[in-house]
């Protein structure tokens, strides 16, 4: 049996666990409610008189900062706590297949959660004529963003048995990745650091790379940024699992 097949089986199981769990639905509803409230109320979608989902997308790095760790914190921590990790890793699969499978299972669940915000696309299309190209790239950016967050969550979850610790650790790493490019923070840093240094640091921020998707642009560099963060986090996840077995 080939490698992809085994990853698919793990992914299906992990995804199935979300679909079958009441807590996952609570997260899903909370996420959709919050994204709706933010877009329509805080973001003043109607008062803006502008047919676009820009407001919705600009809040996504902050919203997913809570929801990605909430969805993914159980991935390895729960396996460690309940002892199922012993069952999983003595199956005829490699650790990396388990890691990718689990990551993809949670990513698909989060992608579906994001896609369930589709009534907003219908709303803006009914009220005006938005740039649907920008909406598509915006969603693409959201998928990459959620995948990157989740890969970091996978890593955090593989370092502890405790889901709450995994949540806090993942949340903190992701928050730092946002803040290093968040203008109120970079403005403060500007008091001590050279503008070039700040620009260099801000280049590593999630915001810098998510922005262009929001504005309807697709840049290969942004893809490389998100995918390298994902691969790097999952690579460290693999090391953490191997280390636990040594």
């Amino acid at each position: 049996m080939n490698q992809i097949n085994k990853i698919t089986i793990i992914t299906k199981r992990e995804f199935g666990e979300y679909i079958g769990s009441p807590i996952a639905y609570i997260f899903l509803i909370a996420y959709l409610l919050l994204s709706g409230i933010i877009t329509f109320t805080l973001g003043n979608l109607f008062e803006r008189n502008e047919a676009s989902l820009w407001v919705f997308f600009s809040w996504m790095p902050w919203l997913l900062l809570f929801f990605a760790p909430a969805i993914g914190m159980r991935l390895w921590a729960e396996e460690k706590k309940s002892g199922t990790i012993e069952f999983l890793l003595t199956l005829p699969i490699t650790p990396i297949q388990a890691i990718i499978g689990k990551f993809l299972g949670s990513w698909f669940f989060l992608i579906i959660a994001i896609l369930l915000s589709f009534p907003m696309i219908i709303t803006v299309n009914l009220l005006g004529s938005p740039d649907n190209g920008a909406i598509v790239t915006g969603y693409l950016g959201c998928f990459l963003l959620s995948g990157t967050y989740l890969a970091i969550v996978c890593l955090a979850s593989s370092l502890t048995k405790n889901q709450v610790s995994a949540f806090i650790l993942a949340f903190s790493i992701c928050l730092v990745l946002i803040l290093i490019g968040y203008p109120p923070v970079t403005d403060i840093l500007a008091r001590w650091l050279e503008p070039r240094t700040i620009e260099g640091i801000a280049n590593f921020s999630i915001l810098a790379h998510f922005d262009s998707f929001e504005r309807g642009m697709i840049d290969t560099r942004d893809f490389i940024y998100f995918f390298s963060l994902m691969i790097f986090s999952l690579f460290l996840n693999d090391l953490a699992i191997k280390n636990a077995r040594a």
Binding site: I9, E17, S21, S82, E86, L89, T90, I93
Partner: protein, 247 residues
């Protein structure tokens, strides 16, 4: 079918296994005995590839678990201590998942699930989530999972732990039924159990093998002919030797 050579393992510089070597042939049920913390579970975890040994070699059906883990793991079924399984899954979906990852085709899956459900008496709970099952049933789900691909090597870590006398009897007779074609390692605290199931036993104490023989030969070594006397004398003797060495 199982060959363990000069196994060493330590956790945080505390040695847990010290030069452990033994073999298990087809048709043998090897009992693993020893006080808590003797290194029984660690040995089983190394044989199944969950943990890596510091040095030494484990061959499962001639596949080296360290060099060729996937091939070696295909050959074995493993029931971890306390029979860990995904509690939110239903028994049938859990077995289906295990069968799929073991590479069984759709038809093989159906047949082998029927076989293990029958073998482990799981018919009445097949559509229930594992979290709703009693400890006895969970233990049998763990056994079913380990047997799904009809492996040549079976590693059972305290398979009868927490079961009532009837369930223990069932598990014992199940092992006796399937034992002829397999090599089985069975760890237990219960000495009578070892006598009922095992063709041979090793006693592990402080990471070393302190006795290796048939239950009958163990009985002959004490004047009372009782297994617990043998167990007590051999583990105490070792403690005494260690104390002497230290002084």
């Amino acid at each position: 079918m199982i060959k363990v050579e000069n196994l060493y393992k330590s956790f945080l510089d505390i040695p847990v296994l010290k030069d452990l070597s033994f073999e298990v042939a087809q048709g043998e049920v090897l009992g693993f005995l020893g006080p808590n913390g003797a290194g029984k579970s660690t040995t089983m975890r190394i044989i199944t590839g969950f943990l890596q040994a510091d040095s030494g070699k484990v061959l499962v059906c001639d596949h080296d678990i360290a060099k060729n883990p996937v091939e070696a793991k295909k050959m074995l079924g493993y029931l971890p201590e306390s029979a860990a399984s995904y509690h939110v899954m239903r028994v049938d979906t859990f077995l289906d998942f295990t069968a799929a990852i073991r590479g069984l085709t759709k038809q093989e899956k159906k047949r082998s699930i029927e076989r293990v459900v029958d073998l482990c008496n799981l018919g009445s709970v097949i559509y229930k989530p594992i979290e709703h099952l009693s400890k006895g049933f969970r233990q049998r789900v763990g056994l079913a999972q380990a047997l799904i691909h009809d492996p040549g090597v079976l590693i059972l870590d305290e398979a009868t732990d927490g079961l009532d006398p009837n369930q223990k009897h069932e598990v014992r007779s199940l092992i006796n039924r399937i034992a002829q074609t397999k090599a089985i390692i069975f760890s237990t605290h219960i000495l009578e159990e070892m006598e009922n199931i095992c063709t041979r036993a090793i006693v592990i104490h402080q990471g070393q093998i302190v006795a290796n023989g048939t239950p009958a030969s163990f009985r002959q070594e004490t004047p009372t002919g009782r297994l617990d006397d043998f167990f007590l004398s051999i583990t105490k003797q070792k403690n005494h030797q260690n104390r002497l060495l230290q002084t």
